[in-house]
């Protein structure tokens, strides 16, 4: 099972480090990372494998959301199926 982590906000040092540290701690494997600029905002997209996630998925969502709030960023963690269903036929 895979999920998509998106980080949107003002660019700063350590975003990737903090997010990937949480992934590593919980056994979440980062499959792919891309970065882009959307309306002058930093946007990072991570595809992660959560099949071996050590904690319930919802706890991972809470943990990353909290990190986002602490850093002044918006972090979404969403099951990949939502994007597949909306954007692929």
């Amino acid at each position: 099972m895979r999920a998509v982590i998106t980080v949107i906000g003002k660019d700063m040092v350590g975003i990737l480090a903090q997010v990937s540290a949480i992934c590593a701690k919980n056994g979440v494997n980062v499959v792919e990372v891309t970065q882009s600029i959307l309306q002058d905002l930093f946007a990072m997209i991570m595809m992660v494998d959560i099949s071996k996630c050590a904690i319930p998925f919802q706890s991972l969502v809470d943990e990353l959301t909290q990190v986002g709030e602490n850093m002044g960023l918006t972090i979404h963690v969403m099951h990949e199926d939502i994007f597949n269903s909306m954007h692929r036929i």
Partner: protein, 452 residues
């Protein structure tokens, strides 16, 4: 790898354009709860609803969190209670309303629909009792919603029921006058009511439905408006195309949520209702879509044409995105629940007559409209009759949810708060239809009904 543009588009829709799944509604049949002892029946109803829907709210919240999609409402619809009331003559159906209210509270849903009667061709004893009890039931419960189907294309319009409903709507408003007449906001009068509608206040679980079912209503007026704003000066073929593409994406999301809810709750998936349902929040308005198309204000000449285009494109976009489409499926135009409609009504651009024309080309009908508190019952009945005639002749669902603003006149405001919103009291035509309404009887089914 997914396209990063697609991912960011979805996130932007959710964060900035109010994309959400409006409701997961569990339909539950109560036919097996019928009992000649009203207390026994109520206990069976309470137990069955709690047994089936005990995990509904939690499941909705879990899905919402895992997929990152807001799911605004978790609700329940039940078998029209008039069918159960028929089994216990002499007992007040209000007992059923109170049992439903307790079950709603226990399961944590925010509305339960089905305090309903289907009387399009005539009344049974349960129907009489239920209709007479609607004012008491709605004024003494918090979560119960009521609806009455008074006409169909196949059966015509039951004008005796129409005459009764004018008085009932007034009575409900009077009994809840201290709460901005909110009772009337929970009562819908239908023509061609669908049996699988997930949206309140008109949801009920029709007798042709399975024992239990999951229906989902999608939303997303803000997303459609934003997509049109980005497109700027395309012609109306282009506008329809944009609406279709956006509706497709919105509906796919609804379909995913519906299937997931169905799987987790071990309940069959019923339908996705392809509706653009507004809220009073800024950026979540159907009226603003019409204005984005190029109208100075919703209600201007051209509104009906713009709405027809919108409604049709939403269906065309949504139909391929879902395996089963049903319910109301169309753009909603509830005045007090739509920031753009509220503004248009306040400035005088939008009138009741224009709204009536608009209901001929969209779902559902004259919805959430505050009318002066001194509006006579027969005028309300006549408004219901007009609306039902539009539904009957055009083989579509129409409904009336008027709120007589007791003690207020045109131009004053009602404020319900929350998703029911608030708005100005709108003027009605003062000429009397009393004699026409008092005639009673039935308006025969139109030629359109003879399709066999």
């Amino acid at each position: 790898m997914l396209n990063s543009h697609d991912i960011l588009e979805t996130i932007n829709m959710i964060d900035n354009e109010n994309l959400d799944v409006r409701t997961i509604t569990m339909g539950i049949s109560l036919l097996d709860c019928a009992d000649s002892d009203v207390q026994a029946a109520c206990q069976k109803i309470y137990d069955k609803i709690c047994r089936y829907a005990g995990n509904l709210v939690k499941t909705g919240e879990d899905i919402s969190k895992e997929y990152g999609i807001p799911i605004i409402h978790k609700r329940i619809s039940v078998t029209p209670i008039a069918m159960l009331a028929a089994a216990c003559p002499g007992s007040s159906p209000v007992h059923f309303a109170k049992a439903l209210d307790r079950a709603a509270k226990a399961t944590g849903v925010n509305f339960i629909g089905g305090y309903s009667a289907l009387v399009h061709k005539g009344f049974g004893p349960g129907d009489y009792a239920l209709m007479a009890s609607i004012p008491e039931a709605l004024s003494e419960t918090e979560f119960v919603c009521s609806s009455v189907n008074i006409g169909t294309t196949k059966a015509g319009i039951n004008m005796d029921a129409v005459a009764k409903m004018g008085g009932i709507v007034r009575d409900v408003a009077e009994r809840t006058a201290d709460r901005d007449c909110i009772g009337a906001a929970k009562l819908v009068v239908f023509c061609n009511a669908p049996e699988d509608n997930p949206f309140m206040a008109g949801a009920f679980h029709g007798p042709g439905e399975p024992d239990c079912v999951i229906n989902v209503g999608v939303s997303g007026p803000g997303v459609v408006r934003a997509a049109l704003a980005k497109a700027e000066d395309c012609d109306l073929s282009g506008v329809a195309d944009i609406v279709k593409k956006t509706a497709f994406k919105i509906t796919r999301m609804g379909q995913l949520v519906a299937q997931e809810a169905s799987r987790r709750l071990f309940v069959p998936f019923g339908i996705v209702d392809l509706s653009l349902a507004p809220t009073p929040a800024v950026g979540d308005s159907v009226a603003h879509i019409l204005e984005e198309m190029g109208l100075e204000s919703c209600g201007a000449h051209g509104t009906t044409a713009a709405l027809a285009l919108l409604n049709d494109a939403v269906k065309k976009g949504g139909i391929m995105a879902s395996s089963h489409v049903g319910g109301l499926s169309g753009a909603f135009i509830p005045v007090t629940e739509d920031a753009g409609m509220i503004n248009a009504a306040r400035c005088g651009a939008l009138s009741l007559t224009k709204l009536e024309a608009m209901t001929a080309v969209c779902s559902v009908g004259l919805d959430m409209i505050a009318v002066p508190g001194d509006t006579p019952a027969e005028v309300i009945s006549a408004i219901i009759a007009d609306e039902a005639a539009i539904g009957m002749v055009n083989s579509k669902t129409t409904a009336v949810r008027l709120i007589p603003a007791i003690g207020k006149t045109a131009g004053e405001e009602l404020n319900f708060g929350g998703l029911l919103g608030g708005g100005p009291v709108m003027e009605v035509n003062r000429y009397s239809p009393a004699k026409f309404i008092q005639r009673g009887g039935r308006i025969p089914a139109p030629m359109q009904s003879l399709k066999n």
